[in-house]
């Protein structure tokens, strides 16, 4: 059946902000779906609260709503746009949950709007664990024995049936939120209770633990004619017990015979039919008992998932694009395979390489979080690598992660300590972010493969592969560097850097020996078909083998270096910029070449750039591409820190860097050169000193005056940055920091307490500088800019201050010779402008600003870098919108039990949302709503603030009281509020004993929390913030945030709530 004629318009639901378990893979899938459906002539309406996405670009969908993703808001959009259908299967769990809500609320029936891709019944059958289990039993498949509990009493009953160990999974949560393994009785009860709290439907599945079994996934597609194909099989290196998002995974499956694989394939086909997913992709997970091959079904996602993104990148089969076409009526055999052109999409890709995905974690960002992996996902990103063998792809994946690893480095001391083997055994037995390295060390210590298997339950095949790599280390260290040496070891994936480490020499020495020996990588295509047919899409990876099948063209080229794996501080925003650069330069007549290793991204879609190199972003790997492509230039300033770090080495190696010079980038990053520049220009920055020891630090801090902002000099992204209020805290910090690193000095700056922080993004062509946007932060300086809420245009800054900010930005951009983008962070303190930081590159805020002002800044910047002038582009004056756009951040605290939710100079957010409206208050309210912080319209507000914040209490108390809220506070704050003339209930602090504030919260009495702790008393208030988080109460840990919330609540109560498409805002 071809395209359905009865569909004219489709609403696509995006996945909202980036959170753990739901990252930019849904920007990739949504973007593909929108493009595919618009090509079919359909009118596309999009709702997504996340401004950092490509999909929310105003020229992608016909109507783009950056609005909160709630039932009420979706209903308004549907009422306004009257789509014929909703496609809920490409926007992750968020979209699927909203689709269920819309259907159950009768909204779809009311507006005659059909769910396409998966119907309500199918979604529920797949998502409801009990229905799913029944369905599996019906078709003769095994599932782990399990039972549902809806109360603690249920939990006791289930305990009798299943015993322990068990896995406890809350229903309908993202990425396994709240899931855990209980191995002991007390543990069991606590975890059941916790799971019930986490589940939106107050329901947990308690499941027999299949920890240690082999884990597999299949990606399945089905069309309206009931054709079913398997796109990809994936085997998890980490056995059952570790969430698949946190597991190292390999495609295709490595350890199944055909007979066993076909059992799984048959099961997958039966499952997709029984669940009744009409069209599109689904992901099905299986576990296999390693000694008998007994197979159980774990779960099914009736939608495009993170694994689908991986499977698409791993095979070249564009799952989301095809799923979208299938949803509007096409059959698989009616859609041609883009890569081969001659053959249809109704086939099963076969691959002739091995793909390895390794997750990226950020435990170091969350003090108190244990680096242990379990059923609840904790990783924030992932890297994928392609190699002709597993060993090659594994080692490429390790260096793609950007965690300072270039192979399987050893953590053992030399010689190993007496306890090393004991310690390593424990580490191999525990799933953690570094287990693979421990595994290699265990083998180095002579622990047998059999024992390593017993400890880890990692399949012996993977252990053998690691053993083979470890076994070669001695020869790599000793044998002479010649052609035969490199021909033997490079195909195993050893990087020049790792070889250099093992030999105790420089990477450059290895690289030059290798070049002299004439050993360089060749490039092969990802073609879906194992070379059976000719491939027309240059989607390439490197390997060390005989034939290079993709000689460069003679065109003028630009290489764009992507951002690598997502992490906190570097995510989808940079992918947005890279994709824009590619689109703009393609239009500008260049051949565009993308290099990236993050499978979740739009940039690694093979139809974004003229060429895609799916490669690690290391100097060695990028040089190999630059040497063969000989580009006109390389863009390093769009992918965040990852490519920026390569700027100087690439420039030194003679690779032309486009835009702002690497030297200018260095001038902005190097503290001393930066200070000299600021002084020369007569600008101000907070006083600061460099300290090299405790005494030095104490002297320095008292010189600049407390509170101080302190950080080690070698870190980026606010890592380990803290505000220190006094000498006692300084001693604690310095002692810890010096333990961590003795060599690096500490940077101590004056902390401008209460200062307003401002971000300015601008674009420059070497002559003209145009301001993109001035963003006033809601939170005061001291909260990492990536974690602050901010607004365009500024809400409180005077015209004079804004003029000063513009003047300083232009001055700095000219001084640095910026060609491209520049981001500057300022603090406004005592009516004066202080410079905090200058980043001559694309910033995290570029997509937000672009959407707020309706100008594609990244595209323009790419053109400028390639030689165009802003006057030629037609962007020479700042555009200040008449509406207000507010960005708010989204945090992963729910994933890390025991971690405080308090904000500081170290960035902790994973994603962002945007609220857009005519006033700041309404835009802020929308942003809060979008961030799932449900501002209450009445009830009891708990307030507890530190002494220095009490001066900001008055407007908050007044606003809340005026709107009829009741106030409750601990003694000090309560007295203060009463003194201000407002009624306020008093409640005990937790340490003062029950009934205390946490009791009141758990009793459901509290509707909102305002809590600003002072540094010394954080432990007491910690339980308040964690409780607020777990009860999903809106909470504010800054006075500025609380004040904005009060304004937002006022707006929600007194202004009509309207939705408006981005296209309407920018039409004017």
């Amino acid at each position: 059946m071809p395209l359905r004629k009865d569909l004219k318009s489709v609403l696509l639901i995006g996945s909202g902000p980036i959170v753990i378990g739901q990252a930019c893979e849904f920007d990739y899938s949504g973007t593909q779906a929108i493009k595919a459906l618009r090509e079919e002539g359909l009118r596309l309406i999009l709702v997504n609260s996340n401004p950092a996405t490509i999909m929310t670009d105003p020229d992608l969908a016909d109507r783009t709503y950056i609005e909160p993703m709630t039932l009420a808001v979706l209903t308004k959009i549907i009422e306004r746009e009257r789509p014929d259908a909703i496609l809920p299967t490409v926007g992750g769990q968020t979209a699927l949950n909203l689709a269920i809500e819309l259907a159950e609320a009768g909204v779809l029936d009311r507006f005659k709007c059909e769910l396409i891709g998966a119907k309500l019944g199918a979604i529920k059958k797949a998502e409801d664990r009990d229905l799913f289990k029944q369905a599996m039993l019906k078709i003769g498949l095994e599932v782990p024995r399990s039972a549902i509990a809806r109360s603690a009493a249920d939990g006791e009953r289930v305990l009798g049936e299943l015993g322990i160990p068990v896995i406890i999974r809350p229903s309908r949560t993202l990425g396994g939120t709240g899931g855990s393994i209980a191995r002991e009785l007390d543990d069991y009860r606590a975890k059941v209770a916790h799971g019930l709290e986490q589940s939106p439907s107050h329901e947990v599945l308690i499941e027999q633990s299949v920890e240690g079994w082999k884990e597999f996934e299949l990606e399945v597609m089905r069309d309206t004619a009931d054709n079913v194909v398997i796109i990809c099989s994936i085997e998890n290196l980490d056995p059952m017990g570790v969430h698949t998002g946190d597991s190292i995974t390999v495609a295709p499956a490595q350890t199944l015979t055909d007979k066993e694989y076909q059992i799984m394939r048959d099961a997958a086909i039966r499952i997709i039919r029984e669940i009744g997913v009409d069209t599109g992709g689904s992901n099905i997970q299986f576990a296999i008992e390693p000694r008998t091959g007994r197979m159980v079904v774990i779960e099914m996602n009736p939608r495009v998932s993170r694994s689908s993104a991986l499977a698409s990148k791993a095979t070249g089969f564009p799952i989301a694009k095809i799923a979208a076409r299938l949803a509007v009526g096409y059959r698989l055999d009616e859609i041609p395979n883009d890569i081969t052109r001659m053959t249809p999409s109704c086939f099963e890709p076969t691959i002739d390489y091995v793909v390895t995905k390794i997750p990226r974690f950020t435990f170091e960002k969350f003090r108190g979080a244990a680096d242990e992996l379990g059923p609840q996902m904790k990783s924030v990103g992932e890297a994928m690598a392609i190699g002709r063998t597993f060993k090659e792809s594994l080692q490429k994946a390790l260096r793609s992660l950007e965690i300072g690893s270039h192979g399987l480095e050893s953590g053992l001391s030399k010689p190993p300590s007496a306890h090393a083997a004991v310690q390593i055994r424990a580490q191999v037995a525990t799933a953690s972010s570094h287990r693979l390295y421990h595994l290699a060390d265990a083998l180095r210590l002579g622990i047998t493969r059999a024992e390593v298997y017993q400890l880890s339950k990692i399949d012996p095949w993977f252990i053998d592969a690691v053993a083979e790599l470890v076994a070669e280390e001695k020869r790599i260290a000793r044998e002479p560097l010649g052609a035969s040496y490199f021909r033997e070891f490079k195909p195993m994936g050893f990087s020049d850097r790792r070889i250099a480490e093992l030999r105790g020499i420089d990477e450059a020495a290895v690289a030059s020996a290798r070049r002299e020996a004439g050993v360089t990588p060749v490039f092969k295509s990802v073609d879906t078909c194992g070379a059976e047919f000719e491939a027309f899409t240059p989607y390439l990876y490197s390997t060390y083998e005989g034939e290079d099948e993709a000689p460069p063209t003679a065109r003028k080229k630009v290489i764009i270096l992507g951002g690598g794996p997502n992490r906190i501080g570097q995510g989808i925003e940079f992918d947005y910029c890279c994709v824009h650069a590619s689109m703009a330069l393609k239009e500008g007549g260049f051949e565009t070449i993308m290099v990236n290793c993050n499978p979740e991204t739009v940039s690694t879609d093979y139809d974004i750039s003229d060429r895609l190199y799916f490669e690690p972003l290391t100097f060695e790997d990028v040089m190999a591409i630059a040497e063969r492509e000989k580009p006109f230039g390389v863009i390093v300033q769009f992918g965040g820190q990852t490519p920026l770090k390569l700027a100087l080495p690439l420039a030194r190696a003679g690779v032309p860097i486009l835009g702002t010079s690497p030297d200018a980038i260095d001038r902005a990053e190097d503290r001393e050169r930066f200070n000299a520049m600021v002084t020369r220009l007569g600008l101000r920055q907070p006083e600061g000193v460099l300290a090299r020891g405790l005494e030095d630090a104490i002297a320095g801090a008292s010189k600049v005056g407390y509170p101080v902002l302190i950080r080690p000099s070698y870190v980026l992204g606010g890592r380990a940055m803290e505000v220190i209020p006094n000498e006692e805290e300084l001693r604690r910090y310095v002692t810890q920091a010096l333990q961590a690193s003795e060599r690096h000095p500490l940077l101590i700056d004056r902390y401008l307490q209460g200062a307003i922080e401002v971000d300015v993004d601008a674009i420059a062509d070497g002559e003209t500088v145009v301001i993109g946007g001035i963003m006033e932060h809601v939170e005061h300086a001291g909260i990492h800019s990536g974690d602050s809420a901010c607004a365009i245009p500024p809400t409180t800054l005077s015209a004079a201050i804004q003029q000063e900010l513009i003047a300083q930005t232009k001055m700095l951009a000219r001084e640095l010779g910026v060609i491209g983008l520049i981001n500057i962070q300022y603090a406004i303190y005592g009516g004066e402008v202080f410079i905090l930081e200058v980043n001559p590159r694309a910033s995290r805020t570029i997509p937000f600003v672009s959407k707020a002002i309706g100008v594609p800044l990244a595209k323009y910047a790419a053109l400028v870098m390639a030689g165009k002038k802003l006057s030629e582009i037609g962007f020479t004056t700042q555009r200040v919108p008449t509406h207000v756009a507010v960005k708010e951040s989204v945090f992963p605290f729910g994933r890390f039990p025991g971690v405080d939710t308090i904000l500081g100079p170290e960035m902790k957010s994973t994603g962002e949302v945007m609220g857009i409206d005519t006033t700041f208050a309404m835009a802020f309210a929308k942003a809060e709503l979008a961030a799932a912080s449900n501002l209450p319209d009445g009830g009891l507000v708990f307030i507890s603030v530190r002494d220095e914040d009490k001066r900001y209490l008055e407007p908050i108390a007044r606003g809340l009281a005026a709107m009829g809220f009741d106030l409750i506070a601990t003694r000090g704050t309560a007295n203060h509020i009463r003194n201000l003339g407002f009624k306020c209930e008093r409640v005990n602090k937790v340490l003062e004993g029950s009934p205390h504030i946490v009791d009141a919260m758990k009793d459901g009495r509290v509707a909102m929390v305002v809590n600003t702790p002072d540094a010394s008393g954080t432990r007491d208030s910690f339980s308040i913030r964690r409780t607020a988080l777990e009860l999903r109460l809106p909470y504010f840990t800054t006075m500025a945030g609380a004040k904005a919330a009060v304004e937002g609540i006022f707006a929600l109560k007194h202004e009509p709530f309207e939705v408006r498409a981005l296209q309407d805002y920018h039409r004017a």
Binding site: T257, D258, T350, Y353, G530, A531, F533, E534, G546
Partner: protein, 397 residues
């Protein structure tokens, strides 16, 4: 990994690949072809249809799951030589009994690993399948190319006589089940089952297992059986198996088939399908590099449903040559070659691909059930039996 001795793969057109030996030490010659299935190398090795061929697996990691007694498709290894990117000496699978290299060594089959198999595949794709030599004893590339050029090739060669069973035998094992192996059918269960004879042109065991599991009593008979000999078994139906090489080189086989068509229900797979084409007076031709894999989309032209199929053939039936003598029932969506035929007024059907899978997907197993229905309906409806069954299948959908 043990570093094997040096080995060379030399193609008749002069292209040389240098790698390492695994399996048996020695020299072997055959037509170089590639298989794109990612699982099932043991089934490939033991498929008699690969007689005369050197098989290159496009999936690079081979040997991972070792070798076990259950997954063989015949009693021995039939490929002439095996070509892989990386051979794994240490298998990891609960059913593994032996390493692949040892298995090949015991079978006397020469393997080569460590070559750029993708480059080889691209070469064969553009230049066509061709004769080649693998050697770990003669490392003179020019000498090997000469040997490859001198090899006779597949066209016009009767390879079936080298793989068929000399004697007739009965078969009573059914499908493989996890934990139970191949299930043997009880005599009770088989007593009332219809009997078929299966012509062994190099039959894969899984075809026999599927026939038994479908509910047939199966007698396997030698390829050279004449029509009279076939009919002398008084079977309820006749099955024509897969097998190696060029169907046109087997006049005894297609003449025998011509003598039974219309008299008994017939089902043919792969070579059996090509032989039906020839028996009907049609032509066959050699494909550039054949179809060898487990992911080929085939459309059932009546239902418009697509099956993902297992394939292994270098020759195909010419559609034009069969006009009005048989109906095209299945089409390959990659290259529009003939994948299935059915009789018009004659009770037979045949497919070019492998509904018995092994290795490969099970999408097409319905064809065995169809054959059972045809055999059962034939005594009553004769020449109309097939049409009635297809009509019944259509109305059931």
């Amino acid at each position: 990994m043990s570093k094997g001795r040096e080995a060379i793969l030399a193609l008749a057109d002069g292209r040389i690949f240098r790698g390492r030996a695994f399996g048996a030490v020695g020299e072997t010659v055959g037509e170089a072809v590639f298989n794109t299935a990612m699982t099932g190398y043991q089934e490939v090795l033991t498929d008699p249809s690969y007689k005369g061929q050197l098989v290159c697996m496009t999936y690079p990691e081979i040997g991972n799951v070792g070798i076990n007694a259950e997954d063989a498709e015949s009693r021995r290894v039939y490929v002439e030589g095996f070509i892989v990117k990386e051979y794994w000496e240490r298998p990891s699978n609960w059913r593994s009994e032996m390493a692949l290299g040892k298995y090949l060594e015991e079978a006397g089959v020469v393997g080569i690993e460590g070559i750029d198999t993708r480059a080889l595949v691209r070469h064969l794709r553009t230049r066509g399948a061709q004769e080649a030599v693998i050697s770990s004893v003669d490392l003179d590339a020019e000498s090997l190319v000469r040997k490859a050029k001198a090899s006779p090739g597949l066209i016009g060669r009767d390879l079936v006589k080298e793989v068929t069973s000399a004697e007739a035998y009965d078969w009573d094992f059914g499908d493989w089940k996890l934990g139970r192996g191949h299930v043997r059918m009880s005599h009770e269960a088989m007593r009332d089952a219809p009997t078929i004879v299966a012509l062994d042109y190099g039959i894969k065991l899984n075809i026999l297992r599927r026939l038994v599991a479908t509910g047939f009593r199966v007698k396997v008979i030698p390829a050279a059986s004449s029509a009279e000999q076939i009919l002398a078994h008084n079977p309820d139906g006749i099955f024509l198996s897969n097998g190696p090489g060029d169907p046109a080189a087997l006049p005894y086989a297609y003449r025998a088939i011509a003598g039974v068509l219309g008299k008994k229900p017939v089902f043919g797979i792969c070579l059996g399908h090509q032989l039906i084409g020839l028996a009907l007076g049609g032509k066959t031709y050699k494909l550039a590099f054949g179809h060898h894999g487990a992911n080929h989309p085939v459309m059932d032209l009546r239902t418009r449903r697509v099956e993902i199929t297992a394939q292994n053939h270098g020759f195909a039936v010419d559609d034009e040559s069969l006009r009005r003598r048989a109906k095209l029932s299945h089409l390959n969506l990659n290259d529009n070659t003939v994948e299935g035929l059915q009789g018009t007024g004659v009770p037979f059907f045949s497919v070019q691909y492998h509904p018995e899978a092994s290795p490969g997907p099970h999408d097409s197993s319905y064809l065995f059930a169809r054959f059972k229905k045809l055999v059962e309906a034939f005594p009553r409806y004769g020449a109309e039996a097939l049409d009635r069954i297809l009509a019944a299948e259509a109305s059931a959908q």
